[in-house]
Amino acid sequence: MEEKGFTRRDFMKAGLLTAAASALGPGVLRPTGLWAGTSKIKGPIKVGYQAIMSGALAGYGEFHKMGVIMAAEEINASGGIAGAKLEVQFRDSTLKKPQAIKNARYFVDSWGADFLAGVDSSGQALALAPVIAELDKVIIITHAATEKLTEQQVYKKGIRQIFRISSPTYQDGNAAAFVAKDLPAKSWATISPKYEYGYTCWRMFKNTLSILKPGASFIAESWAPFGTTDFRPHINTILDAKPDGLYSTEWAGELITFVKQAKQAGLFDKIKHVMFPVGAAMDVLEGLGKEMPDNIWISGRYFFLYPDNNQNREWVARFKKRWNHYPAYVSETGYSAMFAIKKAVEEAGSKETRKVINAMEGMMLDSPAGYRIFRKEDHQAIYDVPWGLTKTDPRYPFKIMGKQILVPAKDCFNRPPFEGPGTKPPF
């Protein structure tokens, strides 16, 4: 009961702060030099950031870097973190776990990092957990989505150094089910990646949707191995099953390939309700351009047209000016991670791990994606990301998220203690 109470209080706090912030208006995140006068922290604040920078997913590393570098520039231009300079070093995480561990150890033990951030792969994030406990530095995960990280490693095992600023599989699985329940589709199928991320999201989607809409059926699954370039056999599997709706957690280049091949096979004509939980990623939208069909449900960890407020609009404009690019979701999470560090250090008045953790637990962060609260129990950032339908907009050379539905994070994120009744949506 008490744990539930915490949650409620956090949300109330969030609500209050949201109100307060909107009263203050935009520009909360603007560099102001406000901290120039506060107590100084010794030496620069060093952040070791790792992401995939080679191979087929190298584009993600690039997007991470854009957001992080821009944040560092803004923070340092306005007097740094409590007077201390923010320094960031990047390393290629590849997809292999030993590489991620070596990077983390290098950052902390050799380079002297005060914070770690980044990480794309869920497997790597899980492998890093015990290492983080040993190194005793705060890490902010900006992409890896596995719910096991926060539920098991942080909540159950108590590795409090781990925080996640990006939305987890809940957004891809549970939130999708909330959207799907209002669609006329009754039978669902999936083409998803043949690894844990794909399996987990589909399981979550199925579980939640079958509670929300008892008549729903799940009739076909086809799993595409990592690096699939030919989705036609998978598409055939789905077309044979004739479902009303298709749910697919394919992402990055594979989603581009899949959409193109599905379009050729006429999949979008036969299946009217299609959901891509990671379809709102910039690389996918830009890569597909006009070839992305209209009226597909897409979401992501952040979409640059949401929230539709001045703060986000200005941030996107700044980003576009700096990089000649729209921010991808990892750009936003990377950017916000730097500001999360800034805020936590300044609130703690120290970069000491214990104090920073205490400051960050339950901390509210105002960010381009809106208000985030780091849930105290599992250190998962709670923030809302919309689902929406793709549509053509003459202002952009690619499809954007048109009609948007917001499933509030508090309604679709699993809740501590993560087991037993009332911990999984719907509540």
């Binding site: 920078m53 080679s54 590393g61 990047f90 390393r91 290629d92 997809l95 292999k96 776990k97 030993p98 561990i101 070596k102 150890r105 290098y106 902390v108 033990d109 050799s110 869920s122 497997g123 899980l126 492998a127 957990a129 015990p130 290492v131 040993e134 596995t146 096991k148 095992k157 043949k194 690894y195 844990e196 399996y199 191995p225 990592f226």
Partner: protein
């Protein structure tokens, strides 16, 4: 003279390893541990590659099998590190025996391709048998429980404690591999590399010897894998991938294929060089590729080969007695 020199060098190296363990920073210890694990992998592999002359593209599978065997035993049966390592070795032994039984029927490119196929089968199994292996997440939460030895127990949880456990296995492996290389059996393996047909006419069962070399190298790969699972406290399915199988080949090549110390020196350079490259660029593949190119085009004997050539020139000694076992 020469023998005394080698013995002095060995003692100095061991002293260096111990001093590093006592006074090294945590990152230095970590890198050194990884170098030693890679060395065990590469030196074992070189029994098959450098000694017997068979190029395998599937030994990553045995590394992975060792790691998963160790991890499964630790998570489900008993976390005693030595028991877990033995479990990993047993599983690696069984796998290399079965896979080797098929693979040693061929040599050269056919052997390489067969090992590639079997290695990727293991990779695919690890990836797909999620209930057992955890899929791409791997097995996490492998603890470094203290080694209980009846009356007393040795803790290995801390980096420097674990370092000494790896040093123990590292030195043991070097000794065992040295003896195997210089045993009658090792001489037969050299004979197989030089002229496999003639081995049969010497009255020796060629395939059985090949299989034995295959299994020995597989078991050392398993040892390396199970130590790595303890080090990183998780298992990685990519360790069974062919690209990981290529690592001991690269290492041997950098150090020198047909030398005893080649894989060892190669491991040091491989890990260290990559660490250095990664400090100034994220395009490490480009630089690594260029260095590889340089080695193949210019320094085919590897570092050890080049060093011994220099050594020979300085001493002006004859070419025969300078070959390293």
């Amino acid at each position: 003279m020469r023998k005394a020199f080698v013995i002095t060098l060995c003692i100095l190296s061991l002293a260096g390893l111990i001093l590093l363990g006592l006074y090294g920073t945590r990152f230095a210890l970590y890198l050194a541990t990884r170098i030693m694990i890679l060395s065990i992998f590469a030196m074992g592999y070189n029994i098959l590659f450098g000694k017997t002359g068979l190029l395998s593209f599937g030994h990553g599978a045995f590394y992975a099998v060792g790691a998963y065997g160790m991890a499964l035993f630790s998570l489900h049966i008993n976390p005693h590190p030595l028991a877990c390592i033995v479990a990993g070795l047993c599983l690696a032994f069984i796998f290399s025996l079965i896979i080797g039984f098929f693979c040693v029927r061929h040599t050269e490119i056919y052997f390489a391709m067969l090992t590639l196929a079997f290695g990727m089968m293991v990779f695919s199994l690890i990836w797909n048998l999620r209930d057992i292996t955890g899929g791409d997440d791997g097995l996490v939460g492998i603890s470094r429980a203290p080694i209980e030895l009846g009356l007393f127990s040795i803790p290995i949880a801390k980096a420097n404690q674990f370092y000494f456990l790896v040093v123990f296995f590292f030195v043991l492996s070097i000794a065992v591999i040295y003896v195997i290389n210089n045993s009658p059996f090792g001489l037969v393996l050299s004979g197989i590399r030089e002229n496999d047909r003639r081995i049969e006419f010497a009255g020796l069962p060629l395939r059985k010897f090949r299989l034995a070399a295959f299994v020995i190298s597989g078991v050392f790969a398993g040892l390396a894998g199970s130590l790595s699972a303890l080090l990183e406290s998780n298992t990685d399915p990519f360790s069974a991938h062919w690209s990981h199988s290529a690592e001991p080949i690269l290492v041997s090549l950098i150090g020198g294929i047909q030398t005893f110390t080649g894989p060892l020196i190669g491991s040091v350079i491989f890990v260290w060089l990559r660490e250095i490259i990664e400090r100034f660029t994220q395009n490490w593949m480009l630089w690594f590729g260029l260095i590889l190119l340089l080695i193949i085009m210019g320094f085919r004997g590897g570092v050890v080969g080049v060093l011994s050539r220099i050594h020979r020139i300085i001493l002006g000694s004859d070419t025969q007695s300078q070959r390293i076992a």
